[in-house]
C-alpha cells in the first residue's frame, strides 16, 4: 500500500472563495494538464482568475498559508481531471468546505488525502463571517470554530483510509481472489 501523511485534524484560517459551481477548468485550466507527473500543479491553481481579477481572494494577505478553503455550492463540477485536487494540495490546502461538491471531484479528493466537507446553509453563512481559525477533525467527524461545532458526513471506508494514510488500491488488491472468482463465473 502507498503510505501518505495520515489525516487526523487540521486547524487553519479559511481562505474564502465563496462562489457557486466552481468547475475544475477554473481550478486548473486545461492548458496546464500536459504534465505527466503529479507534481507542480499548485503554482497554476485558479491561474486564469488570478491573472484576470485584481484582488483575487486567494491572493489577499489573510488567505496566505491557509490550509482550508471555503467555497460555495457544487464545488469541483465539470471535468474529471484529478489535477484539480493535486493543484489544491500543491497549493497547501488539506480540506475544502463547501455547500456541496461535484461527484468525481469528491472521489478524486478523498483518494488524494484532500478532505471535502459539506456543510448546511446556516453553518456556511457562519463560516463566511468567521475570521478565526477553524478545526476540521476527521477522527471526530466534526468542524469546530468560534461559532460552535458541527458534525459532517464522510463514509466509514474513506475515513478509515484517510486516518491511516493508506490508499484504496490496497483494499482492492486484497480482494483479487473475489475478483477472479467473479470473472470465472462470468466468463
Amino acid at each position: 500500500m502507498t503510505e501518505r501523511t495520515a489525516f487526523t485534524a487540521v486547524t487553519s484560517r479559511l481562505a474564502k472563495l465563496v462562489r457557486d459551481d466552481i468547475d475544475t477548468d477554473q481550478i486548473i485550466p486545461a492548458r496546464y494538464l500536459k504534465a505527466t507527473s503529479r507534481a507542480g500543479f499548485g503554482a497554476n491553481l485558479f491561474a486564469d482568475w488570478r491573472e484576470s481579477e485584481a484582488d483575487f481572494p486567494l491572493d489577499r494577505a489573510d488567505a496566505r498559508g491557509a490550509a482550508l478553503l471555503l467555497a460555495g455550492r457544487n464545488f469541483g463540477c465539470g471535468s474529471s481531471r484529478e489535477h484539480a485536487p493535486w493543484a489544491l494540495l500543491g497549493a497547501g490546502f488539506r480540506a475544502i468546505v463547501a455547500r456541496s461538491f461535484g461527484d468525481i471531484f469528491r472521489q478524486n479528493s478523498l483518494k488524494n488525502g484532500l478532505l471535502p466537507v459539506a456543510v448546511d446553509e446556516a453553518t456556511h453563512a457562519a463560516l463566511v463571517a468567521c475570521a478565526d481559525e477553524v478545526t476540521i477533525d476527521l477522527d471526530a467527524r466534526e468542524l469546530r470554530f468560534a461559532g460552535g461545532r458541527v458534525g459532517f458526513e464522510v463514509d466509514a471506508f474513506s475515513r478509515d483510509c484517510l486516518l491511516r494514510g493508506v490508499d484504496e488500491l490496497g483494499a482492492l488488491l486484497a480482494r483479487l481472489p473475489e475478483i477472479e472468482a467473479f470473472e470465472r463465473r462470468h466468463a
Partner: protein, 473 residues
C-alpha cells in the same frame, strides 16, 4: 430481494457487483476501460511503482485525442504539435501502451479519434456493459444501455491494476421526453433544455435514464449527444435502453459479437430495459414539442435560453444566484434584456464528443450548402474520428465545408478544450457545438455559446447568432 421491478441501471449495476465492502462501497467490475493521453500517465507510473501489470489488457483500449494536432502533417511529415509538452504526453501514452500491452489507436492510424467517438464505432461499447474512462464525458456510452461514467486518475490506476472500482450505488432519475422534436430542433437542444431544467448541479449523485418517444425517435448519434451531456447537470451517467436502433448500429462492427453469439447477445440486451414497475428516486418529464433550438448565454451549460429568446437580466436570477448570474453576464458581455439572436460571432466550432459524428456534420452541411461563412468569422469543422472523416469526405460533406470557407480538420478534441493550439482568442465569441461554456474553456478569456450544429452553421453564415429554422424553411 427487491419486491419492485428493476430499472436499466439496477440491472447493469447488480450484474457487476463483485462484492460489498463492509461499511463502505461496492466492488464494481469494469467491462471496458478507455484510456487517453491526459489522465493516464500518472496511473501507469503508479503501476510501475508497485510492480503491477495491466490486469486485463484485453478489456483496455487507448487512443489519443486531447493534445493532438488537428492541422495536417508538415511538408517534412512531422506532426504540428502545439508544444513539447503535448508531444511528450502523446509519446508517453505510446510508450505505456507498448510496455503494458494495451491496444492503442495511435495518431495517424485509421481507428484514431475522440475516445468517446471511437468506442462505439469499433463496437467496443455494448449494451449492459460497465465502461469507464478518465474523462467525465464517458457518459456518452450510456446511449447504448451501458453504465458508463468518468473517473479520476487514481481510479484509472485501480482499474488498470484490478479491473474493478470501489463505488457507492448512485441514485436514479428518469427523464422522460414525450412527443417529438419539431423541425430544426435536435438532440443537442433537447439535452440543453433538460440541463436548464435540472441546473448544473441538479442531478449530482444520480444516474439518469432518458426515456420517452422523443428519445426513442433519436438516431444513435443523437442519443450519444444526449447522454454525453449528462455530466453537465452533475449526473454520473446517462443511459438509454437499447432497442432496434442500437442493434442496427452495432451489428457488424469489428468488436461486436458475430453469428450465434450476436443473436444470443441481442436476446440478452432486449431484457435490459427498465421493468414497467421500476422505481426511480426522481422523475422529470417534458414535452419535446416545447423545445426550441437552444443557446447558452452564461458560463455553465445550465444557463441557456431559446435562440429566439432574450438574454436575461441578473434580476431574473433564482434566489441566491444573482451574483453568479451577474458574474456570468459580465464575462459574456451579451446585452441583458435583448434578443440573443443577432449577437456578433467571431468563431464557430463544429466538433467535440458531443457533436462531431456524421449526423452532426450532415446537419451543419445542410445549412452551409450553397452558402458562405460570413466575412470575419473563422469556422472549424473537426470530425470526431478518422472513420467519420473518411465517411464525410466520401459523402461530399467535406467539400461543402471547404466551399463555404470553413476549415476541415483532422480528428481530435480540438477547440472543445483548447489544449492542442486550436483556441479562441481572448474576448472573442465562439458559437460551439461542444459541451462546456466555462470561463476560458476554449482559450483564456474566450466567450462560448453552446449550440447545435444547425444553430452553429446558421450563425457562421450570418456572422451573428441565428435561429437555424429561418434558413431551413
Amino acid at each position: 430481494m427487491r419486491v419492485t421491478g428493476r430499472s436499466l441501471f439496477d440491472k447493469v449495476w447488480d450484474a457487476h457487483v463483485v462484492s460489498d465492502v463492509p461499511g463502505g462501497p461496492s466492488i464494481l467490475y469494469v467491462d471496458l476501460h478507455l484510456i487517453h493521453e491526459v489522465t493516464s500517465p500518472q496511473a501507469f507510473d503508479g503501476l510501475r511503482a508497485r510492480g503491477l501489470r495491466v490486469r486485463r489488457a484485453d478489456r483496455t483500449l487507448a487512443t489519443m485525442d486531447h493534445s493532438t494536432p488537428t492541422a495536417p502533417r508538415r511538408a517534412d511529415g512531422s506532426l504540428p504539435f502545439v508544444d513539447d509538452a503535448a508531444r511528450s504526453q502523446v509519446a508517453t501514452l505510446e510508450r505505456n501502451c507498448a510496455e503494458f500491452g494495451v491496444t492503442l489507436h495511435a495518431l495517424g492510424s485509421e481507428g484514431q479519434g475522440i475516445v468517446h467517438v471511437i468506442g462505439p464505432e469499433h463496437g467496443a461499447t455494448q449494451p449492459g456493459a460497465t465502461i469507464v474512462c478518465g474523462d467525465s464525458h464517458t457518459s456518452t456510452h450510456g446511449a447504448f444501455g451501458a453504465l458508463a461514467f468518468g473517473i479520476g486518475t487514481s481510479e484509472v490506476e485501480h482499474v488498470l491494476a484490478t479491473q474493478c472500482l470501489l463505488q457507492r450505488r448512485p441514485r436514479t432519475m428518469r427523464v422522460t421526453a414525450r412527443g417529438a422534436l419539431a423541425a430544426g430542433v435536435t438532440a443537442k437542444d433537447l439535452v440543453l433544455a433538460i440541463i436548464s431544467r435540472l441546473g448544473v448541479g441538479g442531478a449530482t449523485g444520480h444516474v439518469l435514464e432518458y426515456a420517452g418517444a422523443a428519445v426513442r425517435g433519436l438516431s444513435m448519434d443523437g442519443r450519444m449527444t444526449v447522454c454525453n451531456m449528462s455530466i453537465e447537470a452533475g449526473a454520473r451517467a446517462g443511459m438509454i435502453a437499447p432497442d432496434e436502433v442500437t442493434f442496427t448500429y452495432l451489428e457488424g462492427r469489428p468488436m461486436a459479437p458475430r453469428g450465434d453469439a450476436w443473436a444470443r447477445a441481442v436476446e440478452r440486451w432486449r431484457r435490459l430495459a427498465s421493468d414497467d414497475d421500476a422505481r426511480f428516486d426522481r422523475e422529470l418529464s417534458l414535452d419535446a414539442a416545447d423545445v426550441a433550438p437552444r443557446v447558452t448565454w452564461g458560463t455553465n451549460p445550465g444557463l441557456g435560453v431559446a435562440v429566439d429568446g432574450v438574454v436575461p437580466t441578473a434580476d431574473e436570477a433564482p434566489s441566491g444566484e444573482r451574483a453568479a448570474w451577474q458574474k456570468a453576464l459580465d464575462y459574456m458581455r451579451l446585452e441583458p434584456g435583448r434578443p440573443i439572436a443577432g449577437a456578433p460571432v467571431d468563431v464557430v466550432f463544429v466538433g467535440s464528443c458531443t457533436n462531431s459524428r456524421l449526423d452532426d456534420l450532415r446537419d451543419a452541411a445542410r445549412v452551409l450548402r450553397g452558402r458562405k461563412v460570413a466575412d470575419g468569422v473563422r469556422m472549424l469543422v473537426v470530425p470526431g474520428s478518422q472513420a467519420i472523416k473518411r465517411d464525410a469526405e466520401a459523402e461530399g460533406l467535406a467539400e461543402v465545408f471547404r466551399a463555404a470557407g470553413a476549415e476541415w480538420r483532422e480528428p481530435g478534441c480540438s477547440m472543445c478544450i483548447a489544449m492542442n493550439g486550436d483556441e479562441v482568442a481572448p474576448g472573442k465569441l465562439a458559437v460551439s457545438t461542444s459541451n462546456r461554456n466555462f470561463e476560458g474553456r476554449q482559450g483564456r478569456g474566450a466567450r462560448t455559446v453552446l449550440a447545435s450544429p444547425l444553430t452553429a452553421a446558421a450563425s457562421a453564415v450570418s456572422g451573428r447568432i441565428r435561429d437555424p429554422r429561418e434558413l431551413l424553411r
